[in-house]
Each structure stands twice: as C-alpha cells, then as structure tokens.
C-alpha cells in the first residue's frame, strides 16, 4: 500500500499544509506579540472589578468599609468607574446613625474618608440580592438596564471579584435573608467562561468567616482564588472607632489594603508577594490560596494585572505630515499611520487588523487551493492507473 508514489503524494500534501499553517503561525505570533507586554505574558486588555458587600445594618459597617476600601484602591490603581460594579447592601455614609455624614472610615482616628466626593454605587440597598449578583456575573440582566449595571467583559478582560459579608461553610449570607452557596458561584463563573469566554483571568477574593470554603467548589479555568479563613475558623474585625461606635474594618482586608497602599500603577509587585504577607498570627485566621485552576506561576502575575487598569503607552514619533490630505487650510482628516516598527501598546485592540496587514501578507489561501488541486489531480491519476492495473490483474487471474 505504501508505494513510493503514495509516499510522494502524502509528503507533498503535508508540506503544503505546513506552509499554510506556518504562514498563519507567523501572523498569530505578530498579533499576540502586539498584545503581550515585554515583561509578563498576561495578555489582557481591560480590567473589571465586581465588589460586593452583602450585609446590611449599621453594625456591619465594617463590611461596607471593606468593599469601599477595595473600591478606592482599585480606582486609585486605574480601573475607571465604568468598569467597576460596586454593590453595597446598605447605606453607611448617609445613615442616620452616622456621626460623620457622607463619610466612611476604615481606621480609628478617621484619617482617610473612603466615600469621598466621587463615587458611583451601581447596586444598592434591596437591589443587592443573590439573583442580581448572578445576573450581573452571567450577563443576564433585563434589557432596559443601562451600561453602568452590566458587566461588559470580553475574553481579554481580567476580572477581580471581591466579596465580603457574613458567611460560613460553603455559603455567603446576603442581607441576613438569603444565602449564595459555593456551588452557585462556581456555576456562575463557569457560565462566564462558557459564554463568550467572559474573562481571561479571574481573581476571586473573599473576606468572611470560613471564607476558603466558598472557593472550594470552583471548577473553571484561569481562576485564582483567595480567602480569609479556613473551614471552622472565624474572620475577625480589626479596629473599633469610639465615635462611630462600631468596628470599622476587618483584619484580613485591613492587611490587604495596607499592602496595596504601597503599590502604584508602575509597581512590579507580584501576587506571590501579596500572598507572602499572609501571617496567621496577625490576621488571626488562616488565609488560603487556590492556584490549581490558574495557569501562570504566581511570581509572574503582577498585582496590577487584577487590581489596576494599567495602560502601557509607547510614545511614537511625530506623524508624517505628508499624509495630510488638506495641506493649506481645512482640517487634517488622516490619522497618523501606525509605524509597524514601533508597535503602540493600547488597551483596546483597535489597531490589530491594520498591524497584521502591514506586517505580513494577507492570507489569500492560494497555497491551500493549489495543494488541494494538485492532490486531487494525483488522486485521480492514481485511481485511473490503479483501475487499469486491477483490471489487468483480474484478467490475468482469470
């Protein structure tokens, strides 16, 4: 069966296919290289954050201040309000019990106001329910909901999900009324993965009692999860302010925020450094990390990959004025032609197609068609030849 003729045909087909794929490989590499920064292989283009405070009532002030501390950090490191979904189950700042109206503090002594003057809370009060959270994560919100209430992630988004409240073994309590189980959350994340791959990498942080159980049931890829305490352990509050009258921050989140205060947008601190500050003695519980679903090593992942919205900008040289369509007067309508030798790293992938056009040939599929045609001819030829040979052989037999 494997005559030299057949071998030749087989070899030729394989060669043509290789050339085809290598050409595509070349272009893939160029597009990938455009997205990847030189240092890390994260490959994400935008950052989103979902920050949920699931408890209501004044004595749960610290949960609201946890979520607001994360909100402030994430905003400071560059994620805009349009990419943050903040859910607060109760109003702490303008609560009638609040001695300092319009302000939420996370340390006794009240040095830093987390509420500030520029805040957008997307879901508040009775709107913070398990159903609404799952709808936001999976994208199944009613048609009339505006953009600010939707999680518009795509397959190049890094999503940071932070949840705080009262919880227990594999559940999180919402507003003292209903619970969300770890299975619900795992299914929601899986739906995010299945449905248009709505995240590239997801970082899940939870600060409740027995928090590590909440991420124990996750099964989707590219999720890094961490929690404040393991099964059977409580997470404790950290500080109490005597004028506000309640605890103002939780221990785990306090140490997280303290670490993140030392980070700015250009920082190269990795997630491994973040997890290295876990000290069961000072945090008074055993925080945990789950990395088995995460593909990259932790010392390669920057903290700003999840907490910040860092845009890597290369300044190009002044654009070539010969491209001005109207020289003397009138507006310049031609945009500067992107110089392929100096790729401009931007967060949105708007120039990808044009770059590919400049750098490589347009995939015309001519080689594929030629290979197919030649293969077809060869097959036809061998069939005809084979037919004549078999007829002659049968004749001989007879």
């Amino acid at each position: 069966m494997w005559t030299p003729r057949w071998l030749l045909i087989f070899f030729f087909i394989v060669l043509s296919l290789f050339q085809e794929s290598s050409q595509y490989e070349n272009q893939e590499q160029q597009v990938k290289g455009f997205f990847e920064k030189a240092e890390s292989a994260s490959g994400h283009t935008n950052n989103w954050a979902v920050l949920v405070c699931a408890s209501r009532y004044w004595f749960n002030y610290r949960h609201m201040s946890n979520a607001l501390g994360m909100y402030r950090t994430v905003k400071r490191l560059g994620i805009p309000d349009s990419n943050i979904i903040l859910m607060l189950a109760d109003d702490a700042a303008c609560n009638a019990r609040n001695r300092f109206p319009g302000a939420v503090y996370s340390n006794p002594g009240r040095k830093l106001d987390l509420y500030g003057e520029n805040i957008e809370v997307d879901y508040r009060g009775y709107d913070v329910t398990v159903e609404n959270l799952i709808r936001v994560l999976t994208g199944r919100v009613p048609a009339s909901y505006p953009r600010s209430k939707r999680l518009l992630t795509d397959d190049r988004s890094n999503v940071f999900v932070y949840m705080t409240g009262h919880g227990g073994n594999e559940f999180l309590k919402f507003q003292d009324n209903e619970e969300m189980s770890a299975f619900d959350l795992a299914d929601a994340f899986e739906q995010m993965w299945q449905k248009k791959r709505s995240y590239k990498e997801l970082f899940f942080m939870v600060d409740t009692c027995q928090a590590n159980t909440l991420y124990s049931k996750l099964y989707s890829p590219n999720i890094l999860a961490t929690g404040s305490s393991q099964i059977g352990e409580n997470s404790y509050s950290h500080d109490l302010d005597y004028d506000i009258g309640v605890s103002v921050i939780d221990t785990y989140t306090h140490y997280m925020l303290q670490f993140l205060e030392g980070i700015n947008k250009t920082s190269k601190t990795t997630m491994e450094d973040l997890f290295n500050i876990y000290d069961p003695v000072t945090i008074r519980s055993h925080p945990g990390v789950r990395t088995d679903l995460f593909s990259r090593p932790l010392n390669d992942v920057l903290v700003t990959d999840f907490f910040g919205g860092v845009a890597d900008v290369d300044i190009t040289e002044e654009y070539d004025t010969s491209w001005d369509l109207y020289k003397s007067d009138g507006p310049v309508t031609k945009e500067p032609r992107p110089n392929p030798s100096k790729l401009m790293h931007v967060e949105k992938a708007s120039y990808a197609v044009s770059i590919a056009k400049e750098a490589g040939e347009r995939p015309t599929m001519s080689r594929a068609w030629a290979a197919l045609a030649l293969t077809g001819l060869l097959v036809l030829f061998t069939l005809l030849h084979g037919c004549s040979r078999t007829t002659s052989s049968t004749q001989e037999k007879l």
Binding site: D91, G102, I119, E120, G125, F174
Partner: protein, 510 residues
C-alpha cells in the same frame, strides 16, 4: 452656543427658627427644541447635538419620548409651619418620579407605554445610582388632579405616570452623577459649593431633576438642590450668623465661563440690625442680589446679626403657610388600622383642594368608613367632599384615593378612614421585615375654585411618610418544620422497622 443657555442661581433664605434655606437651581435651555413624539418611536431619531445640555439625560428623554419629567430624591421632613413653602414643591421624603409621556399610536409604535415607563425608570436608576427600578407597577399610579404639567404638552394624547418610593435614601453616589450633568461640574461657579459632607448633614436635603417643554422657548432641564442648614448646630453656640465657609465649607473661587447668568439671591431678614458682606449688586424688595461673574473672588457671602448675643427661638411661631396638613395612623393591631388626616385652612375664604393618597397594596381601604368632621363638631359632614376618584387595590397594584374637598374658612377638617393590612406571603417580605413598610406621603393640591380658569396660587404640600407594621411570620419556621418532621419520621420509622424486622434469637449459653 447660541441655541443653548445655561443659567445658575443660588437662593438663600434665613428662616425664623435660625436655620438657613438654600436652593441651587441650574437651568439649561435648549432653544426651539421640541420633545420627541411617541409616534416616532418606530423610526430612528434625528441626531442631537448638545454643547452644555446634558447628553446623558437628553439621550434618555429622547429614547423614551418623554415630554415632562420630574425626579426628586429627598431626605428629612419638611416643616411647613416653620419654614414656609420651598421654592421647588417636591419635598416628599424618598424618591419621587413622575413623567408625562405620549400614549403612542399602537399600530405605529412597537413599544408600549408601560415598557417605556420601565425603560425610563431603569435608565434613570443607572444614571443617578438610585434603586428606581423599584418604582414598578406596585408603586405607579395615574392621579387625576395632582401633578399637572408645569410646562406645555403637545397636541397628542398624553398620560401621567407617578411613582413614589419612600424608603429610598440619598447620598454622595446620587450627587456625583448629578454634578457630572452640569457644564462646569463642581470646579467653578455656584456648583462648587456643593459639598456632600455638609449637604448630607443638613436637616433637610434633596435634589431634583426636572425636564419640561415650553412651546415658545424650548426644552429646559432644571437641576436643583435644596437644603436647610442649621448654623447654630454647626457652630455649637447659639448664634445664627452664617457665611459660606460655615455652612458649605467652601467658597466660590471661579465663575463658570459658559454660564449666561450666575447669581446669588439672599432674602434679607425682616428685623434687627445685620450686616451682609460683600456688597450686593442690587438690594431691594427685601432681597440682595450678587453676581458671581463680576464679584471679587473668592466669593464668600456672610450675614451677621448685630446686637444679638445669642439667638432665642420664637416662642409662639406663626405658621408660615395658609394651609396645613398632617397625617397619622392609629391602631395597635397588626391586622387593621385607621388613617387620620387633619387639613387646616387659615384663609378667610373656602379653599378647594385635592388630596392624593397612593398607598401600596399592603393597605386595603374600607371606603364606607370614610368620615369627615369639621373642628370639634362630632357630626359627620357630607358636603366637604365634592368628588372622589378611587381605584381600589387589586393583586399588587396600589390604591388611588383622590377626593376633592372644599375646606371651610378658618377651620380644620378631620378625615378618618379604616384600613386592613395584608398578610404577606413569606417571600414578599423585604430583608429587614421587622422594620415595617413605608407609606408614601399624601399630597395636598390646592385647586382654583369651580369654574375659574386661573391657575391655583398655592403650591402643593406633602405630608410625612408613615411606617406601617405588618404581621411578619417566623422566618425560621420552615427550617424548624423540616428538622422536626425529619426527627419524627426517623424515630417513628426506626422503631417500626426494628419491631417488624428484628428477630430475637436465643444464643446457647453454655
């Protein structure tokens, strides 16, 4: 920018109990614009180009073909007796949304009125970070006399949708997008005085968004913030002197360059020597006017009361309004109660008013128990209520109770009405069920007398919200039932199984 005009004004009025009423009004007029007709919703809208007119709000108005829109978010109880009438009459505590929208010809328009109302609510909820999605059919009504349009309406058939959510609160996240709608944001002009840490400390505060159409001018957006500050409490001493850094913790450092006019009006106190600094542009008719554009910056208006070591509250304060209304509910049961409304007319002539009550479905009125008495006379009167518009509650729709009354001169009318409280299903209770349910405020609308075409001279008034205590179940009951049933079944089954299947075999004991 010749077809858009932005004007801003701050009105400051000292009140008789030492407090200071401030009203910020930002008006943006889109000249010669016409609101989108509901019949054009099937086709694409013409392009809109705005410079200072807020784009986010303009897009929402055109998307749902809204002619007139009023949204207000308030906190506190407006004290009509001490403070008089506010400049903007919408002072009900909570979130109030009402809109006049065209009905839309059903054959040409694919989207129904209710769907547009829902879209409008959700769009405004997203824009202003408020839970306005709760204003669905459970809280929406269409009053007859109340909420007549402030502007003009086009010739097509228009409907009013009115909804009130008394449990809504207002905080910095509502003020942030509000300020972002202004052309100068809070960087310059009068809006730079809007400091959330002081605004939400005020004894009464609220913000309002009004969109109206005037046929001869165009579409106007009025963004307003009203607040009643207490300089005595802020200072800690009993002196009612105030200035901008004292009440707002801010001064005006720059004027808004795109403003057509930017003025501050201060109502001068009626009595006592006082000093008003800086010097106003005009001072007459009891009002001093400052022009922010031409004044020396930083602009800090201050009013000092001379010869007043400390302020004494008026012993017998005269009511500042001619009409007054108070509403309460009585009864100790969790199954029924009674509304008691007191309407006082201090004018010397009878006044025709409408009274609007829109409680949610948890309250069921018994209309035959409606009793009207005047002053101390216990005999029920049949001549006070002229007309009654009444749509009782059904399934989860609210009641609409809107009688028209003639209040006799110099008298007090008492209305009482019995109601039943619903026993809600287990899942219908809010998360904090033991708190109770808020009832929206009742509205008193003075009307012009019968046959007169002149508009009424007095603005509408709101009562306080009421908190109604409903019977709550024991929310741990299902868990207890399951545990007990399982225990009983296990014990019963265990014993019966053993009895039926256990065999006693004698073992030889040697």
């Amino acid at each position: 920018m010749n077809n858009e005009q932005f004007e801003e004004e701050l009105h400051v009025r000292p009140l008789q109990d030492g407090r200071v009423y401030t009203n910020f009004v930002f008006k943006i007029l889109l000249k010669n614009a016409v609101p989108r007709s509901a019949n054009t919703l099937g086709s694409e809208d013409e392009a809109q180009h705005y410079t200072v007119f807020p784009l986010a709000l303009g897009q929402i108005i055109r998307e749902y073909a809204v002619t007139e829109l009023h949204l207000s978010l308030n906190a506190g109880k407006w004290d009509y007796a001490s403070w008089g009438y506010p400049d903007n009459p919408s002072v009900g505590s909570g979130a109030e949304l009402w809109a006049w929208m065209g009905e839309g010809d059903e054959k040409r328009v694919s989207i129904s009125f209710d769907a547009r109302w829902q879209g409008l609510r959700n769009a405004l909820a997203g824009l202003f970070c408020a839970s306005l999605g709760e204003l669905d059919e459970r809280r929406t009504t269409s009053p007859v006399y109340a909420f007549q349009p402030d502007g003009d309406l086009p010739a097509e058939s228009m409907n009013l949708a009115y909804a009130f959510h008394p449990s809504e609160n207002i905080c910095t996240e509502n003020l942030t997008p509000f300020i972002k709608l202004l052309p100068c944001k809070s960087r310059s002009g009068i809006a730079s005085l809007l400091n959330p840490h002081r605004l939400f400390d005020a004894d009464w505060h609220g913000m309002s968004i009004r969109v109206l159409w005037r046929a001869d001018e165009g579409v106007e957006v009025q963004l307003g913030v009203q607040a009643v500050f207490d300089p005595i409490r802020l200072r800690g001493q009993q002196k009612r002197d105030w200035d901008f850094p004292h009440i707002f913790d801010r001064t005006i450092t720059r004027a808004c360059p795109v403003a057509y006019s930017s003025t501050i009006r201060v109502d001068l106190p009626l009595s006592g020597p006082y000093t008003l600094t800086p010097d106003p542009i005009t001072a007459g008719n009891g009002t001093a006017v400052f022009d922010v554009m031409s004044a020396n910056k930083p602009l800090d208006v201050s009013l000092l009361y001379l010869n007043e070591a400390h302020f004494t509250y008026p012993v017998d304060p005269s009511p500042q309004t001619d009409l007054s209304i108070a509403r309460s509910h009585t009864g100790t049961s969790q199954a029924h109660g009674r509304f008691h409304v007191t309407l006082t007319n201090s004018l010397n002539h009878p006044q025709r008013v409408a009274y609007l009550e829109t409680p949610p479905w948890i309250i069921k009125f018994y209309l035959h128990t409606l009793t009207v008495t005047v002053d101390q006379d216990p005999r029920p009167r049949k001549d006070i209520i002229q007309k009654l518009t009444y749509i009782p509650t059904s399934s989860n729709l609210p009641t609409l109770f809107e009688p028209t009354l003639i209040l006799p001169p110099n008298s007090t009318v008492h209305l009482t009405l019995d109601f039943d409280k619903t026993f809600l299903r287990y899942t219908e209770h809010p998360p904090d069920a033991q708190r109770g349910w808020d009832l929206p405020p009742a509205v008193l609308i003075p009307l012009s007398s019968n046959g007169s075409s002149a508009p009424p001279s007095l603005p509408r008034m709101y009562t306080n919200t009421l908190l109604v205590d409903l019977a709550t179940p024991d929310f741990s009951m299902p868990y207890n039932v399951i545990i007990m049933t399982c225990t009983l079944i296990a014990m019963f089954f265990g014993n019966v199984f053993n009895l039926l299947t256990r065999e006693f075999i004698a073992i030889k004991v040697a």
